[in-house]
Amino acid sequence: MTFTVTKAGVDELWATLVSRVAAGDRFAGLFAAYRPRPGTETGLVLSAQLAVKGGIDTLEVALPPGTASYPALTPHLGAAFWYERVIHDQFGVIPDGHPRLAPLILPGSPEDHALPRHVAGYGLFTISHGPVRSGVMESIEYLIETPGEAIPHLNMRVFYKHRGIEQRFEGMTAAGGVLLAERAEGIASVAHALAYCHAVERIAACVPPVRAALVRVLHAELERIANHLDVAAKLADAAGLAVAAARFAVHKERVLRLVSGLCGSRFGRGVVVPGGVSAMPRLSPGAILSELGRLEKAIDSDADSLMSTSSFLDRLRTTGPLSPARALEHGAVGPIGKAAGFSDDARRNRPYDAYPSLGTLPGHAYDDGDALARLQVRWDEADQSFHLLRQVADELAEQAGADELLSVPCDPPGGRATGWAEAPQGEVLYDVTIEGGQISRCQPRSASFHNLVLMHEVFAGDILTDFPFIEASFGLSFAGVAL
């Protein structure tokens, strides 16, 4: 966990980044902010983040005040493609040499509503799918260029859901910020709250009590199971397996009801606070264990059936493949990366809360990178979650009656740090700066944002009817993309 400010120019920083990524570090993000610098005017500062074993390294370069453009990183490191478009949207500074500097998170000009054509040929047309789509879905617009069946090119407009989360953080207190973090990406509320709180706790140099760390893992893993069941239900639904979809929906509902039984919110909101947790679970460890046992048995049985239903597997196998080389190059996080042989799980490589003290099951390695592998990764993760949850419940039972401390004071006056957590979609990052007891800059980066851009590239040979499978197998939330 280092924090480096480059005195040299942007080019040198990019060269460092490229060589470190080549050496095995993972590119985790690129952000910009106006930051005061000692001895000079406030100017735009570019911060690149690299995930390394044990932490997140931040490498910064200050652009001279009044800079209108800088040499783009994207030509050297493709994973920066969307990050530099966001910086352009937010600050107007132009990354020179960026391959496609269209607005990403801000609505473009009305002329942009003309349907773009990137592929030329006889009979090609563009299907504009969204932002209001069939079914109950989050808003996004897919522009699918197709001759009728194959999908030679896909484009996405994600700006419809831009809500100004980053701006809203500014001026909030450390305690208030967690409420917004929970609502940045609602289906991963706990993971966002954790990543945010880890950043704040790192600034304040405080460590949550043991019992709080256990309760955090309890909620984070239940959230993971609910998300993976949601993906399974959507995949089954896409394949027309009505009974399977209904059964996974029932299991998911039972998980959400268990969560609401623990804390009153079906999404675990209000549990994680800077410095610890707000309350102990309302259910006893014994009650949690018995419900977990029933759930695991029911889920396992249906998952086994699903994974031996050949009409279902046929639709997933070789669908939406992401090559291991691309996953590695992009630093794909979460199940999408794991399915393509690239695993950088924050719980293992940068452990937090109670994870270091909990035992894990040996994992399987996958490198097919298709929708089937992504689902297999999710089932493995769900098994792992149940394994962790049982240990957490046992530990909580042992801790019962011990010191009642649930949180430590955590209200830092100022500082800056990065926090992370492994959401069901993959790693969530929060770069938090606090000045005078208030948040002056908070940059959340969801796994959904980092991974969604990969959907451009996975339609090799797949046709329109594969689209719902690919989208469901990604399992992302668009609320976390345009923030």
Binding site: P107, P131, V132, R133, S134, G135, V136, M137, E138, S139, F159, Y160, K161, H162, R163, G164, I165, Q167, R168, G176, L179, L180, R183, A184, E185, G186, I187, S189, D230, L241, V243, A244, A246, R247, A249, V250, K252, E253, L256, R257, S260, G264, S265, R266, F267, R269, G270, S278, D302, S305, T309, S311, S477, F478, A479, G480, A482
Partner: protein
């Protein structure tokens, strides 16, 4: 495939009987905050307790000095935690009190309209929905939600809530829709598509604002990026707080919209 048919029978009926019969999960639900004591001795700092400014302290009146706007409540529990003598959680997710027919009725403990105003609102709604009580089609639009609201709406399609048993269906086409169910804080990017969807629906139509975000913008409020709820874009008929609202709350709001559930806030 026959395997799945047998599996479907495995757990028997898991569907709730609500609204015909009470449901324990719905009744045990923790809803938006309410005011327990509208006239506490000490009102210092009360209005600063709420991160969305839902609490107002006035000079006083017949119904006390403290008001809470449930349309802004994001259920963080800060007020209940700090002043349990003044604030409490409301109990129960389902039923007539879960949502309201006018925005003002979400402010507790107060009703600013006269009963005649509400009667007019109700009559107008009844006129529009009389023909579609037992066959209702919904078009959902996400106008900048955090994603959790969609999960709760999707839950209605699962076996536990099974909205189809009530004659309510979701439709992809606004041309076939009677109810527009909107979630999200009113992101400016979605204002155009939301309005287009509304305009594409045939009359008569009803709009449900589902969730505190859709009602007031919630924590995001009104800014140059979010519109502070959806009511600037489409006329809202039913206001449902919750962050996110529970499936029972959404079900209640939909039944209220088509006149199959009274507005319990009349007696408030």
């Amino acid at each position: 495939m026959s395997l799945w048919v047998l599996r479907g029978l495995r757990d028997g009926v898991v569907t709730t009987r609500w609204p015909k019969r009470p449901d324990a999960y719905a009744d045990g639900w923790r809803g938006p905050a309410v005011v327990r004591d509208p006239d506490p001795a000490d009102t210092a700092g009360l209005s600063d307790l709420c991160p969305t400014n839902a609490i107002a302290v006035s000079q006083g009146g017949r119904r006390g000095r403290v008001r809470l706007d449930q349309g802004r409540c994001i259920l963080c529990g800060w007020c209940v935690g700090a002043r349990p003598d003044v604030f409490a959680w409301s109990a129960g997710a389902a039923g007539p009190r879960a949502s309201a027919l006018t925005r003002d009725r979400l402010v507790v403990p107060d009703v600013s309209e006269t009963d005649e105003t509400l009667a007019a609102v109700r009559a107008s709604l009844r006129e529009r929905t009389a023909a579609l009580r037992r066959s209702v089609h919904i078009r959902h639009v996400d106008a900048g939600s955090d994603g959790s609201d969609e999960w709760e709406i999707l839950a209605l399609l699962g076996p536990v809530y099974d909205i189809h048993r009530l004659g309510i269906f979701f439709t992809p086409s606004p041309r076939h829709a009677d109810i527009l169910l909107v979630t999200g804080a009113g992101a400016t990017g979605m204002a155009g598509p939301l309005r287009t969807t509304y305009d594409g629906m045939p009359d008569p139509k009803v709009v449900v604002a589902a969730g505190t975000d859709a009602v007031s913008g919630g924590l995001l409020g009104r800014s140059d990026i979010t519109l502070g709820g959806i009511s600037d874009v489409v006329p809202v008929d039913v206001w449902l707080p919750g962050s996110p609202p529970s499936p029972f709350g959404i079900l209640s709001a939909l039944l209220l919209a088509v006149g199959r559930l009274g507005d319990g806030r009349e007696q408030a």
